[in-house]
Structure formats: C-alpha cells, structure tokens
C-alpha cells in the first residue's frame, strides 16, 4: 500500500538522537554520506556498519520501521544493482548473448547495494529523529551563508517543511481517489505500459486539483496568521547548542578520522 511509505516521516520517541540539535544531524548525515564513498576496503565496511548500527540503537527507532521505509526505494536499489552487475567489465562468470555477469560486477553491485542501503538508512534516520520544523530550522541556519548570494534560504526551507507535512495527507487522498475511481470500474492493475499510464489520468488529475486547492487554502491561512517571509520572525524553538551536541560533533570527527586513517593505512598495506 502507498500508505506504508515511511521514508521521511518523523518517528516520535524520546532518544538522545531526537534531542540533538538538527544542525548536528544535518552535518552528521552529510559527513556520513561522504564517508560511504571514501573507503574501499572490507575494514571500512565494518567500521561504517558499527557506526550505523550504534546510531540506530541510539535513535530508539525500531529496526522494522526503518526497513519498511526501504521498501519504497527497492526499485531504485535493484536497478543500480543490475546496472552494476551487467555493465562492469572483468572476468566473465556467466554469459547469455550480449548479457554477461562478471566477477567484478557481482562484487561491485553487492557493495553498491550496501552503500545505497546505508545511505538511505542514514538519511532517513535524520528525518525519523527530527521533526520537519526542526529540520527546516536547522537547514535554514546551516545554509544561511547562501543568503549572501541571493539564495532564498528561508523560503526553500519553509517549502520543504510544508511538503513534508502534506505528504501523508496526499497519500491518504491518493488512496481514496483510487478507490473512488475503482468504484467507477477503473482498472489500475492490468494492461500494457501505455494503458496503465493512461489509467493514471483519472487518479492524477483530481490529485493535482486537490493539491492546488490545498496550497491555495494554506497560503490564505498563513497570510491570515501574518506570515510574510523570514524577515522579522522570531523562533519558538531557537537553535542552541548543548554539551551533547559538542560530544556528537566530536564523535563524528573521530568516526570520519577513523575512516580516512583506515583508507590510507589499508592502501599502504595492499
């Protein structure tokens, strides 16, 4: 079901990760993603896995919930795996016409799958433990320097936070429209690609109309509450670093240092 997509949804519980400053989590996620592409050795994988597992443990988000979020991107994952499997040159293991699987391809795709999975889990951990509002606040603060080159940082972060709030609502709406059209004999499941694409029109048109209506309503409601962009706004929950945030920064630096050190050392050995 569409509703089962959990990627990007806040998971309310009280963990140390939830209490961290969103800026730490944003920068941490960024560092984690970089670290994923820094190493080549098996050792590196072990370090990254240990790091990720401990962060998951700290977050108190159930593992099943995280895995459920992965379902949504499984196609992307499979696509990358297959692409790597078939198109990496090297020692041929199995061949059928032009399609061949190489040993390097197999290894590559396996590692790629792990990296991608880690990347998705890592970044969704951020959204699981940070409310969209905190996330936008953090993003706004982190990206503030870009304001000088005329990037509308506040507007972008506001847009993101609204998008996140309306995702569950629009998903539910999709479900409802789908059922209503099925009650009128619509068929979303059978037929060729073209027929299926066409069958989406009765779903997409009402969905867009509704999204525009909501956007219009929301804009009016925001203006009625005196919203006029970022200037002159105060914060209900202003961002302030606590000691736990400095500890988190320190651990992140240690982790990144370990990865880089491993990378240099192992290269030397090999």
């Amino acid at each position: 079901m569409i509703r089962d997509i959990t990627i990007g949804q806040y998971y309310p519980t009280n963990s140390i990760l939830h209490r961290l400053d969103p800026r730490v989590k944003l920068i941490g996620t960024f560092m984690f993603i970089i670290s994923l592409f820094l190493f080549q050795s098996l050792f590196g994988y072990i370090v990254v896995t240990i790091f990720l597992v401990s962060v998951i443990k700290l977050s108190k988000v159930p593992f099943g919930f995280i895995v459920k979020g992965l379902k949504a991107v499984i196609i992307l994952l499979l696509f990358t795996v297959f692409f790597n499997m078939f198109f990496t040159p090297g020692e041929t293991l199995w061949q059928f016409g032009v399609i061949k699987i190489t040993k390097e391809g197999l290894i590559n795709s396996g590692f790629m799958a792990i990296r991608l999975t880690f990347l998705i889990i890592g970044s969704s951990l951020m959204t699981f433990t940070t409310t969209p509002n905190q996330l936008t606040d953090g993003l706004e603060k982190v990206l503030k320097p870009l304001n000088h080159i005329k990037v509308p940082v506040h507007e972008i972060s506001m847009m993101m936070s609204i998008a996140l709030r309306f995702i569950p609502i629009l998903l539910e709406e999709t479900d409802k429209i789908m059922k209503a059209q099925m009650a009128r004999g619509a068929d979303f499941e059978s037929g060729g690609l073209l027929k299926r694409a066409k069958s989406l029109i009765p779903l997409l048109v009402p969905l867009f109309v509704s999204a525009f209506r909501r956007a219009n309503d929301l804009a009016m409601a925001m203006e009625a509450r005196c919203y006029r962009g970022g200037d002159g706004r105060t914060k209900m929950k202003p961002l302030r670093y606590h000691s736990r945030d400095y500890v988190a920064y320190l651990s992140l630096l240690l982790y990144l240092g370990a990865i880089i050190a491993l990378n240099i050392m192992i290269k030397k050995i090999v």
């Binding site: 059922k179 209503a180 009650a183 009128r184 004999g185 068929d187 109309v209």
Partner: protein
Amino acid sequence: MQIIFDKINYVYSGGTAFARHAIKDISFSIEKGEFIGLIGHTGSGKSTLIQHMNGLIKASSGHIYFNGEDIYDNSYKLKELRSKVGLVFQYPEHQLFETTVFKDVLFGPTNLGLDKLECELRAYEALKMVGIGDDLLDASPFELSGGQKRRVAIAGVLAMKPEVLILDEPTAGLDPKGRDDILEQIAKLHRESGMTIILVTHSMEDVANYADRLFVMNKGELVLQHSTKEVFAHYQELEKMHLAAPQVTYVMNALKDRGYAVTTDATTITEAKNEILALLRAKG
C-alpha cells in the same frame, strides 16, 4: 434478499504492531428496493462496512452474498459487482477529472466495455436523473458550483446502472438548499427506479424523513438495526454512542415526562405536530 452479510470481520493491519478490529461480526440482510440509513459517529466503521459491499475491501472472515452469489467465490467477477453496487464516496466531486461534464460521466459505463451509443445514452440519462440540464453537458466540471459538481459525480456512478446505490455522507459540507436538493434527488431515484439505497449520514433529521430502516454502528459493531421509529425510541442509548435523535423526539419525550398522554415515536415535524395537536384538542 439482495445483500446478505454473514458474520463479517475485518482486521486492519496498518503496520506490523497494531492490528485493529475495524468491524466485528456483522450480519444483516437487505431486500431489493429498501432505503437504509447507516449511522454512527466518525470511526465507528461505517466507511469500512460499505467498502465491503462492492468488494473494495475484502473481509478477514465471513461471507457476503449479492443476489444469492458468494462474492468471495473464485469465479465471481468483482468488476461486475462494482457496476451493480454503485458507491459514491464522501466529497465525490473531488474525483472529477475529465474536460467536460458529459465525458466525466461516460467514464464509468466506458469502463464496463459497453458500446459507445449505450454509454452515451446512460450518461445522458444519469445526468437527467440528478437534474443536470443539457446546457451544462459541455461545461468543465471544475467550473460548476459545489452542489452541481456533487450531482455530476453521483451521475458518474448512476451511469453504471447500479441496482444498489450507496452514498457516503452525500450532504457533507453543503448548505441547507444544496442538502435538500440532493436528498430530494435521492428520494426520487428511490421512488421512481426502485433502486436500493444505502445512505450513510450523521444527520438524524436526514434519515428520519427518508429511510425505512436504520443501521446504527458503534465501535465496529452493528448495534441496532430496526425501523427508524424503533431506533429513535432508543434515543438514550444513541446519546451514549455520541449520536442523537431528531429534536422532535426529545420534545415528545419531554412532554411524556411531564405526564401528558402522548406517543413518543414521532420522528418528523409533521408527525410531532399532529400528535401535539391531538393533545391540545383533547379536553382536560
């Protein structure tokens, strides 16, 4: 019997951890041509129940028979069921998508695979039934008023020529005039075509005027299924379920409490008026 529910249960498992019993052990039967009012507060399982009737949701256990056939038989065609049991969702105007009113109503019959002439005939008839005039056939559905949009959406289901028409809160959000118009259209459909009607609503006043029988749902269970008068006689129970009988029922009961010899089963203004007039005319 046109529709029979035999011990229907539906357990909703939205995730892994929390399975919820959405409806519990529901059994009833509906005769052809009946007008049923289905009431219950939000979350009582009404919407889940009606989605079972045309196979959009499959029960966790139990059987549903439509015209004597088990709809969960492997050979049973659900698509055919959906054309015979028309379901109009809440705010149906949100499902309009075509460029013209006429084309939108054509969507249903076209999906049934009928030939073009038949489809157009049905669409035209259906629009007539809900009182949409020829002048609006080529209008964009998005330019209509709220009440008109809703009627076009209902026509979209009627064009499939269902034997049963289920409407989920067809009057929600409409002003009194729009509400009366829609209810009148539905009552007319029922009178003239003998279609079975199942009306889901919160408004007791709405069902009191039209329904033969009332089904009352509470916490996933069908707690009452009687004639309208009998159900409203249970007005104190209804209140415990966060429902209420029409105001006139309260008037009659209050009069009785004061010791007047009145019957308390009036559910409409006319009935109450006649009862009170009889009381006032009686000597002493």
